[in-house]
Every structure is written in C-alpha cells, then in structure tokens.
Symmetry: C2
C-alpha cells in the first residue's frame, strides 16, 4: 500500500449535522410562508440543479437557500429576511470541528507507517479551513480538494502521484463518492458509514452488486485490518 486517502466530511469529522441544523433554521425562518415539507423538497431540487453551476460546499448551499426562499415566497421575502438566511448560512464556514471518535488515535498510528492524504470534494476555501480547524493537518502528507469524486478524478490523482490503483486505498463514508469509483478503477476502498447521509450521496443495491469493498463500523477497526499490510508493496 503506497497511499491511503481519507475522505474528510463525515469521515474525519462531523459535517452533515451542521448542514441539517442550518436547513432546520431556514425552515424556522420561512415557517410563516411555507411548510417544512415543501421547503425541503424545493431546497433539495434547487441544490441539485445548482450543483452543475455552483459545485459543492457552503457558498453553493447559501445561494441555493436564498434562491429557494425567493422562489417559495414569489419574491415577497424581504432583504432583511435574506440577510438572516445569510447569517445562518455563514455558520457553515466556521462551525467548531468535532473530530470523530478514534480518528486522532488511528491517524497517529497510520501516519507513521503510510503516506496519508486528505482527499475531499467541495469548496476549496471551505475545506482548507475545516482541515486547519480540525488540527489533523499534520498527519497528512498530501491534501487534495477536488470538485467531483468520480473515476476520472481518481485516475488523475493516481497519475499525479504515480501510484498504481492496487497500491491505493480510499476510506470514506460515501459509497457513491469514496467507494464505488475507486473500486471501478481497480483501487481498494473501505466504507465507514456515518450516522446521516445526504440524499444525493445515496446509491442503489444494484450499483453495489458484485463490487468488492470492506465496511467497518468504526475507524479504529482500520488498525486491525491494516496490521499485516506492508507499507510499500
């Protein structure tokens, strides 16, 4: 194994709960205009539509919140109310990072034996800030923040670092982004599910059929699994 890459959000630290919390606050702010159910559906549609133009991340989320609020109120929402939405959304850019249980301990041990990488998708500035706030940066030899985690993106990374797929292990909470594309290009992947998964990251059972990867319930189980793996094959 020459390179072990970790996803960041909801693999190294809790992220999704902050987004869920901000979305709840948006529902509260708009509760006199629209029901939570209507808002949720419309907001999800807006997010997915905007992904192609804005990409992932907090600023994209904020712009989608604003657009959804305008659309659902037929433009009647006031500037002051939109400022409240922006203020709520800003929290996504500086919430305190809660490192997940076992992560520090596992990175401390693995970083002595392997080259580790943070490999995350999203907003560059936002993700860099979270890595800094996490205090985990020193465990990682490389940091790669990319706009989408698909097969082409993983191939580019492996080419850049001149790593064969068989020497690459990806660890993350998303089957769609961290596991399936890596397995498809011949790499190894370990799935560590997180308590909540954004609907956009869901995959079907069919997509998983015949795919080989390991699922762990806690990051600490990595240590046993990697105990017998050589650093440089």
């Amino acid at each position: 194994m020459k390179l072990i890459a970790f996803d960041a959000d909801d693999t190294l630290w809790a992220n999704e709960p902050n987004y869920i919390d901000v979305k709840l606050k948006l529902c509260e702010l708009l509760s006199h205009y629209v029901s939570e159910e209507t808002l949720s559906q419309q907001f999800y549609d807006s997010q997915i539509r905007n992904l192609a133009v804005f990409g992932y991340g907090a600023k994209s989320f904020m712009l989608s919140m604003i657009e959804t609020a305008i659309e659902l109120t037929n433009g009647a929402i006031t500037g002051s109310e939109i400022q409240q939405i922006i203020d709520v959304g800003r929290k996504l850019l500086d919430f305190p990072i809660e490192v997940l249980d076992g992560v520090n301990e596992v990175l401390e041990i693995l970083s002595k034996r392997f080259d580790l990488m943070v490999l995350t998708k999203g907003d560059l500035f936002d993700q860099e800030s979270k890595i800094a706030r996490s205090g985990l940066g020193h465990y990682f030899k490389h940091v790669e923040i990319i706009s989408e985690k698909n097969e082409q993106a993983y191939e580019r990374i492996l080419q850049k670092y001149q790593i064969q797929p068989a020497d690459f292990l990806m660890i993350g909470n998303s089957l769609k982004s961290d596991v399936l594309p890596v397995v498809h290009i011949g790499g190894r992947a370990i799935h560590i599910p997180y308590e909540t998964t954004w609907a956009h990251e869901m995959v079907t059972d069919e997509q998983l059929t015949g795919k080989s990867f390991t699922t762990l319930s806690n990051v600490r189980e990595l240590l046993g699994l990697l105990e017998t793996v050589n650093e440089q094959v």
Copy 2:
C-alpha cells in the same frame, strides 16, 4: 527551468472585464436606491471583509453583492430584486472565455519544451470550468487551484513537485499574487500587466523596491526571453 507556471485570469484569458460588467449591472439594478459611487465603495468593503470567510471567486462575489444590496437599502430590497442580482452574478460562472492575444501560439511552443502549469487562485469549481471552457487545458501538465497566492502557498507547490525555487518561473498579471511572493522565495517571475487590475491586487512602489523581475507588454515576448533557457537545468 523545470516548471513554468501561468496565472489564469487576466493572464491567459480576460476575466476582470466580466466582473466590472456585472458590477455595473448591479449599479443599474440599485440605481433607484443608491448612487454608483456609494455602491462601489460599500461593495468593495464588503468583498474585502468577506474574503476571509468566503475566499475569492464568483460565488463569493455574488454573496457580497447580495449583502451590499441589503445593507444599502436597509433591508428594503425585495426578494425579486435579489433574484435579479443572482441572475446577473450567474453570468460570472459561464461567460464565454476570450483567450488573450498570443496565448495559444506561445503555449503551443513552450509546452513542447517545458512542463507547464496553470497556477491560479479562486473558487475550485469556477476555475476548473474556465480552464475547460478556454480549450487550453491540453497545454498544461499540471493544474493547481489554490485559495491564496502567498509565499507559503508557493513553497508548498514547489515542495509538492520537488522543484527548487531557481528552477521555477511564474508568469502573471498580478504583482501582488504572481510576482512578489515568488521573488521573495527565490523563484523567477515575469509580469505581464493586463488592462485592468482589481484594487485589491495593487501594490505600492515601496513593495517593489529592490525586487528583480521582468515586465513584458505581450505574452509573445516570452518566446524571445526563453529562447536560450534550457529545459532542464
């Protein structure tokens, strides 16, 4: 010379004119609320204040436009007007890329002799999209999109690619981002000014005193300058 890096916006293609154009449209949209002068000053202040939270790029620009509009109208601006601002801002994410005069020809020649890199700051998704739309991507062996171009950032890049500062040449339109930090860490820099420079990228004469770099009036002049330089020193 082992690596030649080009800045992207206003070095390879025109960018700033699109931002100026969008800002003018913002002035028009808000003309019944506020004068162009007041708006310009307030918007610049908002942009600089938000840089530390949002970083550079189109989405950050859009959020600053919205905040400025709300602030200057004391919250009286309507949701519909804010949607117009968002629609104007979206153009920043898909304007047609106008490659600057001589760039294609110079990259065609240099890419056969040197490893070329696009090294740009800004929003990851936005910058990747511009590189793709420019049709210049195939000239570049490497693409690095970073959140800030300071000495530490350049040092990280050189370390990552194992390049000595003396073997690195940076070419760009911004003295602040492309020239001074590179010169400070012992690299070489070529300045090709563009017709307009964002106020935030301005430097003082004092900052330039004693700094050694070359200024060209057109990218084609690179060819003569690099004619006698060896590919791999």
